[in-house]
Symmetry: C2
Subunit: 242 residues, 2 copies
DNA sequence: AATTATTTGTCCGTATGTATG
DNA sequence: CCATACATACGGACAAATAAT
């Protein structure tokens, strides 16, 4: 998947750090040694190192060598770091943290959308909602239509920073949720129909420019989905206990 | 300031892109040319490029060369990108967006703190508040004490992701605000005394575990400070109109 | 469809800078 | 002050990919 050798090595080293296989404070092998270990040139190793230090996972200094930086220095909002952390064995706590941020940001974004949406935005949102309505009977189409709807709302906030943030956030959640998503889909059309109503409520408030209304309805939507998720998780656990 | 040549070049190229001097879609000079232009080796150029592509500011492919990626692909939550954007000429819109995110995140973090703070956290928060109280008469000490107080609250949220996010956020705002800060400080002890009360209210709610109370009080605090800022900005503008 | 030109990607020998012992 | 060990920097060579001819 990675395009070139240095990206490959970057992912290998990066995930080993984020997943705790290399602890903060630990000294990495010197460039020459790594080059031999991985069978690549020093150039490739050095370029991978640049990727790691751009994410503040490591710090290099002459003579001392290259050490893994403490967790609080890491740039957690890098999509790769999030992806590596979400792919870790023990990721429950991390996913909860991601969810907490989402619960804070999405309603705020919708509130902004209600304030800032122009005619073009509203047309786009309406269109996405129609597509959502049409795909209420299809498991596969629903997921894509749902994402597109949220993206249209997000775009209407006219805040690039929030868009970027929520996007990386969603990707992180998505990666570790595709199994759970399947579970939710199994719930069938009825829960999707319920979700559809909640989506329409959000849309209406945005179109009418009712900021706080829009924010609260998004909160309701998120909490409902989260409750559904928990219920079905519990149910599955009951059916197949380990 | 930058430690080595490649970081120097990275900052030069990175800020020129973020500040719009090199537009999305534009083709960068090839490695060899850049190497000659800047008087550094190709190795240095290549390593700087790695830094830019880690931040998704550029994309390279063989034969085609290296192009500046569209703004929506950029990793906006990289501290360097934020710093470059905050240092731009036309940064009003960017600062507003940063502020909007802050207004969403800080109250959410305080709410979490009210939920999750343990004895240790509470002791730390109390301590920071005492320092804040003691520095109400000193312009210089206040800024540092205020930051420390917010950091202690943030730490009590027990959410590394939020901490990281708000920290980079604050650094971005701080960089472009140090002039405005001076203005606010000029307001004298009275406004600081008012702010102190608001801080105490937040602290109390956190200690008592009143989540929504804590969130709302932080919202009040932020809005009050923002209002004070605007008032003094307007006043200064009146005194010295351009 | 085959060839060529151009640019990134990769390798490596070598030299320099810097902090440690 | 010298020796050592590491990152940093330089540049020539070749490989791989792809747009243009």
């Amino acid at each position: 998947m990675p395009k070139n050798l240095s990206e490959q090595l970057l992912h290998e080293l990066g995930s080993s750090i984020v997943q705790g296989k290399r602890q903060p404070g630990e000294l990495l092998p010197k460039v020459e040694t790594l080059s031999e270990m991985k069978g690549v040139s020093r150039t490739v190793v050095r370029e991978a190192m640049k990727g790691l230090s751009a994410r503040r996972l490591i710090e290099s200094s002459t003579r001392t060598g290259t050490v893994v930086r403490p967790r609080e220095a890491w740039l957690w909002w890098d999509p790769d770091i999030i992806s590596w952390a979400a792919a870790a064995e023990e990721n429950q706590s991390f996913l909860m943290q991601l969810t907490e941020v989402r619960l804070a940001m999405e309603p705020a974004a919708v509130k902004l959308a209600a304030k800032n949406a122009d005619e073009e935005d509203i047309a786009a949102i309406r269109h996405r909602y129609d597509l959502l309505e049409q795909s209420v009977n299809s498991e596969d189409e629903w997921v894509a239509a749902d994402a597109a709807f949220h993206e249209a709302i997000l775009h209407a906030s006219h805040n690039e920073l929030m868009q970027s943030l929520i996007q990386t956030l969603q990707e992180g959640l998505y990666q570790s949720r595709h199994t759970t998503m399947r579970i939710l889909q199994r719930a069938g059309d009825s829960s999707r129909r319920m979700a559809l109503d909640l989506h329409r409520d959000v849309m209406t408030a945005v179109i009418e420019g009712k900021e706080d209304e829009a924010r609260m309805r998004m909160e309701t939507l998120l909490h409902t989905v989260s409750r559904l998720l928990k219920e079905y998780e519990a149910e599955v656990k009951k059916e197949a206990p380990k």
